[in-house]
C-alpha cells in the first residue's frame, strides 16, 4: 500500500493530490480541539432530557414538584411552560424539514422521545431531576416490526424520488428467462452512534442566539432554528469547527438540540444539553429496517432479461422518510427490463433519516446477494457474471456515464485479492485451523452529487491570503482537503492561507452530506480563488508597468505567491507587488457551486469493487471477516491519505452491516433493549484484521470543475454484500437476514 496516486493527477507545485496528514490531527489527539460540549460560557446551566419509557401513548403525569425541589434544579421544562415557538414543530416546509418533538403536547410517538427537560446548576442535579420526574403514562399497543402495520405506497422516497420506477417489460423479461430466482433479504434497524452524541451550548442575547453545536449543514440549521423561534437566520451564530462524527445524523438540527435552545430561552442563561448514549436510540434518525425481494431473470448467455427490486421499509407514524433501497438497481447492472417499488409501514419509532449511504447501503446488500445467487444458478463465477452484465449506460435512465472505471476496479481488486484462485463451488476452502474459508465480491456504487455552496477568498497587499467557507469537517478531513484546493487555486503554500470553515458567519458552505461536500465546497473555493487570481491578473496585465503587461488573463498562472507569465516563466511578480502598485489593499473573490446542466445528459456515480474473505467455524458458526480489498474509482483524488481513510471507514461499516449492527426492539414495547455500545455491536479493531483500499484512476470531465466524485459513503456499499456472499462461499448457506450471526450457521 502506498500513498502515491497516479502520476497524471499530480501536477507541478500542486497541493491537490498530496497525502497531507490532517491539519487538525494534533489538536484532536492532544484534546485541544474544542467540540461543542467542551464549551462553558459564564453562568451556564446543564439540561438533561427525560425521555419516554413507552413507545406509544400519552404522558399523564410528571412529578415536576419532586424534580424542582431537588437541590440544584433551576427549572423543569414541560409542554405546559415551554417557551412559545413561532412555528409548530410538526409544520413542514420542504423535503428537508422533518418533524421534531419539542414538548408540543403530551403524546408519545416512540420510545426515548423527550417528554421534559430539567435544567440545573450541575449535570448531576439535572440528571437526578430528570429521573425524579418519573412519568406516568397511558400506554397504547405499539406497532413494532415490518409486519405490524398495513403497507402503503409512499408519495416519494429518499428526498423526493418516485416510489415506483419501471423501464421495459419486467413480466415479459422474467417469462422469457432461462433461469429465474427470487430472493428476500432483510436488513435491521441501525441507529446512529457517532462518538460525539448530539450536543448544544446555547446562549441567548435578546433575540440573538449563539450556538456551539455540531452540524453538518450550518445554513440549513440556521434556517430551521430561525423559523422555530421567529428570528432572523443572520441573528443565529453557529460554531461547528469539529464533529465527532456525523454520518447523516447531524445533517439537520435535531430535536434535542432545539430543546437545549428552548431551555436557554426559558431560564435566561446559557444552557448545555448533551444527549446520553441510550437517548441516541430515538429522536435523531436511524436507518430503517427493510425487507427486499429481488426477482431476476437471465438468458442462456448469463445476461439479465429482467430485474425486479421490491422494498418494504418503515417510517414513523408522524413523518415520512423512506429508505430508498431500490436506487442501486437503477444504476448497476444492464437489463432490458427493470422495476423498483417501495412500500412502507408506519411504526412507533422515531423518524428514520439519513444514515451513511441511505438506501444504497441496504439496497446494495440485497442486490449483491441476489446477483450472487443468480451467478450460482448460472454456474458462473460471480465476478464473471457481473462483468457479463456490466452496464455501459445507466439502466434506469439510459444516460451515458460521465465516467465509469468499474472494469478497472474489478480487475485491480481481483488481482490484489487473488480472486483467480477462487473455487467456483462453495465449501471448498479451509485454513490451517480447520475453519471454512469463503471469498465473495460486491459492487460498490454511490451517486456523485453536487449541492450549493459559496466561498470567499481574499489576498491583501501585505501578502496575506484568506479563504472562508462555512464548510464542515466531520472527521472526513475538510480542514485539510478543502485547504489543499484553496492552496492549489491561489498558487500558495497551504500554510500561507488563513483558512476558515465551520462557522455560520462564513459564506454558506452547504451541507456536508451525500458524499458531495468536497466536490461542492471545493468548487466554490476554486471559484473564489480563481476570481482573486483573475482580478490580480487583470490588474497586472493591463498595467504597462508590470512585467506581465499584455499577457492576457489566460496567459498567467499563480504559483508560490506570484503570477507567472505562462509562456515566459522569467516574467513574474508577487501578489503584493501587483496590489501595492495598483494602490489596492486587497482583492476579494467570490465563488459559487451548484449542479450544472451536464447532469441532464450524464449519469454520475462513483464505483468500486469489494472483495471479502471470511472464515466460519464449521461447528460453532463463529464468523470473522479476515480480509477486505476494495478498489474504488471516484474521479479526481484531492488527498489520497484521507480518501483511503474514508474507504477504510466505509468498509468497516460494511463489516458492521454484515456481521454486527442491529437495534433490537422488544416486540411488546417497542423499546430498544441494546441501547448502549456494549450491546449494540459495531466492529472493534480485532474484527477488522486486514484492509486494503486501491485508488483506481478515473478522470471525469463532466461531474464538476474539479472532477471530484464523493468517497464518504461508497465504501459501505459492496462491502456488506461481499461479506454475505463470502459466507455463502465458505458454507454453502445463503443467509438473507442481516446481520449474519453464528446461530444461523449452526
Amino acid at each position: 500500500m502506498s500513498d502515491q496516486i497516479p502520476s497524471n493527477q499530480i501536477r507541478h507545485g500542486s497541493s491537490i493530490g498530496q497525502p497531507l496528514t490532517r491539519r487538525d490531527g494534533i489538536l484532536k489527539v492532544t484534546g485541544a480541539a474544542a467540540y461543542a460540549a467542551d464549551h462553558h460560557p459564564p453562568g451556564m446551566l446543564f439540561a438533561v432530557m427525560a425521555v419516554s419509557r413507552i413507545a406509544r401513548g400519552r404522558v399523564t403525569r410528571l412529578d415536576v414538584a419532586a424534580a424542582r425541589s431537588h437541590p440544584g434544579v433551576v427549572a423543569v421544562m414541560t409542554p405546559q411552560n415551554k417557551p412559545a415557538l413561532a412555528q409548530h414543530p410538526d409544520e413542514k416546509h420542504d423535503g428537508f424539514t422533518f418533524r421534531l418533538d419539542l414538548l408540543q403536547d403530551d403524546r408519545v410517538r416512540y420510545a426515548n422521545q423527550p417528554v421534559a427537560v430539567v435544567i440545573a446548576e450541575t449535570l448531576e442535579a439535572a440528571t437526578e431531576g430528570a429521573a425524579l420526574l418519573d412519568p406516568a403514562y397511558e400506554e397504547e399497543v405499539p406497532a413494532v416490526g415490518l409486519d405490524a402495520a398495513e403497507p402503503f405506497t409512499p408519495r416519494a422516497i429518499g428526498v423526493g424520488d418516485p416510489a415506483d420506477v419501471e423501464t421495459g417489460d419486467v413480466a415479459a423479461g422474467l417469462a422469457a428467462a432461462a433461469h429465474t430466482i427470487a430472493a428476500t433479504y432483510e436488513t435491521p434497524a441501525q441507529y446512529h452512534n457517532a462518538m460525539e452524541p448530539h450536543a448544544v451550548v446555547a446562549t441567548w442575547d435578546g433575540d440573538r442566539l449563539d450556538l456551539d453545536m455540531p452540524s453538518q449543514g450550518l445554513a440549513m440549521a440556521q434556517g430551521r432554528i430561525a423559523g422555530l423561534f421567529g428570528i432572523a437566520p443572520a441573528d443565529i451564530h453557529i460554531r461547528s469547527p469539529f464533529l465527532g462524527g456525523g454520518f447523516g445524523s447531524k445533517g439537520m438540527v435535531a430535536g434535542p438540540q432545539v430543546l437545549g435552545i428552548m431551555a436557554a430561552r426559558l431560564v435566561g442563561r446559557p444552557v448545555k444539553l448533551v444527549m446520553s448514549r441510550p437517548q441516541m436510540f430515538g429522536p435523531v434518525g436511524h436507518r430503517a429496517p427493510t425487507r427486499q425481494t429481488l426477482r431476476l431473470g437471465v438468458a442462456e448467455d448469463g445476461r439479465l432479461t429482467a430485474l425486479d427490486h421490491e422494498t418494504l421499509t418503515a417510517t414513523s407514524t408522524f413523518d415520512d422518510f423512506i429508505e430508498p433501497s431500490g436506487g442501486v438497481s437503477h444504476t448497476l447492472y444492464a437489463t432490458p427490463a427493470l422495476a423498483t417499488r417501495h412500500r412502507a409501514v408506519r411504526l412507533d419509532t422515531g423518524t428514520p433519516l439519513f444514515m451513511r449511504a441511505p438506501g444504497e447501503a441496504s439496497g446494495s446488500v440485497a442486490l449483491e446477494g441476489a446477483i450472487d445467487e443468480m451467478a450460482d444458478a448460472c454456474g458462473l463465477d460471480p465476478l464473471e457474471f457481473r462483468l457479463r452484465n456490466y452496464a455501459e449506460t445507466e439502466p434506469a435512465s439510459g444516460k451515458p456515464f460521465s465516467s465509469k472505471a468499474l472494469r478497472a476496479c474489478y480487475a485491480q481488486g481481483a488481482e490484489a485479492f487473488g480472486w483467480d484462485k477462487r473455487p467456483l463451488a462453495p465449501g471448498q476452502m479451509r485454513n490451517a485451523d480447520g475453519l471454512l474459508v469463503g471469498w465473495g465480491v460486491g459492487t460498490a456504487t454511490f451517486p456523485a452529487l453536487m449541492f450549493q455552496a459559496e466561498a470567499r477568498a481574499v489576498v491583501t497587499s501585505t501578502g496575506a491570503a484568506s479563504v472562508a467557507i462555512g464548510a464542515i469537517d466531520m472527521g472526513q478531513g475538510a480542514w485539510t482537503a478543502l485547504a489543499q484546493i484553496a492552496a492549489e487555486e491561489l498558487g500558495l503554500a497551504i500554510e500561507a492561507i488563513d483558512f476558515r470553515i465551520g462557522s455560520s458567519d462564513l459564506p454558506n458552505g452547504g451541507i456536508a452530506g451525500g458524499s458531495a461536500h468536497t466536490a461542492t465546497a471545493g468548487t466554490a473555493i476554486k471559484g473564489a480563488a480563481s476570481d482573486v487570481i483573475a482580478q490580480l491578473a487583470a490588474l497586472a496585465t493591463q498595467d504597462s508597468r508590470s512585467p506581465l503587461y499584455g499577457a492576457g488573463n489566460a496567459g498567467v498562472i499563480a504559483r508560490d505567491g506570484r503570477l507567472v507569465r505562462r509562456d515566459d516563466e522569467s516574467r513574474s511578480e508577487t501578489f503584493t507587488e501587483i496590489l501595492v502598485r495598483a494602490g489596492r489593499e486587497s482583492v476579494e473573490g467570490k465563488g459559487a457551486a451548484g449542479p450544472d446542466a451536464a447532469r441532464e445528459h450524464y449519469a454520475m456515480h462513483a464505483h468500486g469493487a469489494v472483495f471479502a474473505e471470511v472464515t466460519v467455524d464449521p461447528d460453532l458458526g463463529q464468523i470473522r471477516a479476515t480480509r477486505l480489498v476494495g478498489a474504488f474509482a471516484a474521479g479526481r483524488i484531492i488527498n489520497p491519505r484521507l480518501v483511503r481513510s474514508q474507504y477504510y471507514g466505509g468498509m468497516i461499516w460494511g463489516v458492521s452491516f454484515a456481521l454486527h449492527e442491529q437495534a433490537v426492539m422488544d416486540p411488546r414495547t417497542g423499546r430498544p433493549i441494546n441501547a448502549n455500545l456494549a450491546e449494540y455491536h459495531v466492529p472493534v479493531n480485532a474484527d477488522v484484521p486486514s484492509l486494503a483500499a486501491i485508488l483506481v484512476e478515473e478522470e471525469d470531465p463532466h461531474v464538476n470543475p474539479l472532477g471530484i466524485k464523493g468517497v464518504g459513503e461508497i465504501g459501505v456499499t459492496g462491502s456488506a454484500g461481499a461479506i454475505v456472499n463470502a459466507i455463502w462461499h465458505a458454507t454453502g448457506r445463503r443467509v438473507r437476514r442481516l446481520p449474519v450471526t453464528l446461530d444461523t450457521l449452526l
Binding site: Q622, R624, R671, I673, V684, N685, A686, S690, T741
Partner: protein
C-alpha cells in the same frame, strides 16, 4: 444521581463495618457498579471504597501449592503473570477473553466475581425485573432472549452471569475468602452465586457487610496445567460477552483421562460446573465419543428460556471442542485474538 456517602476504608474490619449498613456497596474499580449507578439500575446510598485496603492486591504462592489471589489484583496483571498463566492457563485465557484491554487494566479479581448480569431488562429501569425490584416480574420472559439462560433458570429470572474468569475457576475448585462481621469464612466459588429460584434478588451467599478478600486455587488445580483451555463463542471478536463459553481441564495418565473438569459460561446465572460430565470422562480415553457423551451430560437438563434453543446445541459443540483442545495439550503460547490491521506490530496485537 442521588447523593451517596463515600467512605474510604483503611482496613478490612473498617470496610466490613462500613459495608454492613443498609444500602452500602463496596467500590473497587467500579467498572460495572458505576455504569449501573449512572443508569439508575442500582442506587446505593453509601459506597465503601476498598481500593486502599492493604494486602489485597497480591498474588501469593503458598507452601502447600495453593495460590491466593488478592481481591484487588487487576485482571490484566493476573493474566500477564507468566507463572500464573503457566500453572492455570485456562484462567489466563478466560481473563484475556473478557471485556476490553482498558477494562481489564482496571477491573479486579473479586469485582469480576461480583459483577452483575448483562440482562438488558435488569439494566433498563423501564422494565420489570425481579432481580432489581423483587416481585415486579420478569420482562425478559417473552422478550428478547437470544442470550439468556438455558440451565438453572426459573420463571422469576432467566438472566446469566457474564463472567469469563469464574468459569475455569469453578472448574478448578477455587474457593473464596470472605471477611464479615462475624469473622472470616471460606466458601467454594461454586457456591457463591445462587441460582435464581424464586428470589433472584439474592445473587450470592455473601451477607450484608461481607467482603470478598481473596480467591484461592487449591494445590491440585495446577495438576491440569498441561491440558487446559477456555473457549468463548461470541458475536464480536473482543469486548463482547459470551454467547456460550467452556472451560475444560484434564489430568491425563497413560493416555487416559484420570480426572476431568468442565464448566460452562453464559448459560446460567452462575458459572456452571458440569460434574456429571466430569464423572463420565474419568478413566476414559480422550476421544470424540467420550467428549460427546460428556457434552450430552453437561446439557442434559438444559431447556430454552425463550428464543435461545440454539445455545443448547452450541454449548454441546463447544464442550466437545474445548475437551478435544484440552486433550491435545495446552499450547505453548496462548493463542492471541486476531490482531488488528491498525496494531503496530504483531506482538502488540493481543486485544
Amino acid at each position: 444521581m442521588i447523593p451517596f456517602e463515600y467512605v474510604r476504608a483503611t482496613d478490612v474490619a473498617g470496610a466490613v463495618a462500613a459495608g454492613a449498613a443498609p444500602g452500602a456497596a463496596y467500590l473497587a474499580s467500579g467498572t460495572n457498579l458505576l455504569d449501573l449507578m449512572k443508569g439508575g439500575a442500582v442506587r446505593p446510598t453509601r459506597l465503601v471504597d476498598i481500593t486502599r485496603l492493604p494486602g489485597l492486591a497480591a498474588v501469593e504462592r503458598r507452601e502447600d501449592g495453593s495460590l491466593r489471589i488478592g481481591a484487588l489484583v487487576r485482571n490484566s496483571d493476573l493474566a500477564h503473570d507468566p507463572a500464573f498463566a503457566r500453572a492455570y492457563p485456562a484462567v489466563a485465557e478466560a481473563l484475556l477473553s473478557g471485556a476490553s484491554a482498558q477494562l481489564r487494566n482496571a477491573a479486579t479479581a473479586a469485582g469480576n466475581v461480583m459483577q452483575r448480569t448483562r440482562c438488558p431488562y435488569f439494566t433498563d429501569t423501564g422494565s420489570a425485573c425481579n432481580k432489581r425490584r423483587p416481585g415486579s416480574g420478569c420482562d425478559a420472559r417473552g422478550g428478547e432472549t437470544r442470550l439468556h439462560a438455558i440451565l438453572g433458570w426459573s420463571e422469576a429470572c432467566i438472566a446469566t452471569h457474564p463472567s469469563d474468569f469464574c468459569v475455569p475457576l469453578v472448574a478448578l475448585d477455587a474457593e473464596v475468602e470472605i471477611a464479615g462481621p462475624a469473622g472470616t469464612r471460606t466458601v467454594p466459588l461454586d457456591s457463591v452465586h445462587r441460582l435464581p429460584g424464586d428470589a433472584p434478588e439474592r445473587e450470592t451467599v455473601l451477607e450484608p457487610g461481607e467482603l470478598m478478600t481473596a480467591l484461592v486455587l487449591p494445590p491440585e488445580a495446577a495438576a491440569f496445567a498441561g491440558h487446559s483451555r477456555y473457549l468463548k463463542v461470541r458475536d464480536r471478536t473482543s469486548y463482547a460477552f459470551a454467547v456460550v463459553s467452556a472451560a475444560a481441564a484434564l489430568r491425563c495418565e497413560n493416555g487416559r483421562i484420570a480426572e476431568a473438569r468442565l464448566a460452562l459460561g453464559g448459560v446460567a446465572l452462575k458459572p456452571w460446573r458440569a460434574r456429571e460430565a466430569e464423572r463420565l470422562l474419568a478413566h476414559r480415553a480422550p476421544d470424540e465419543a467420550a467428549f460427546r457423551a460428556a457434552a450430552e451430560a453437561a446439557l442434559a437438563g438444559a431447556k430454552p428460556s425463550g428464543d435461545n434453543a440454539f445455545k443448547i446445541e452450541l454449548a454441546r459443540r463447544l464442550v466437545v471442542r474445548a475437551l478435544s483442545h484440552a486433550a491435545s495439550g495446552t499450547p505453548e503460547r496462548l493463542p492471541a485474538l486476531p490482531g488488528s490491521v491498525f496494531a503496530p506490530a504483531p506482538e502488540a496485537a493481543h486485544v
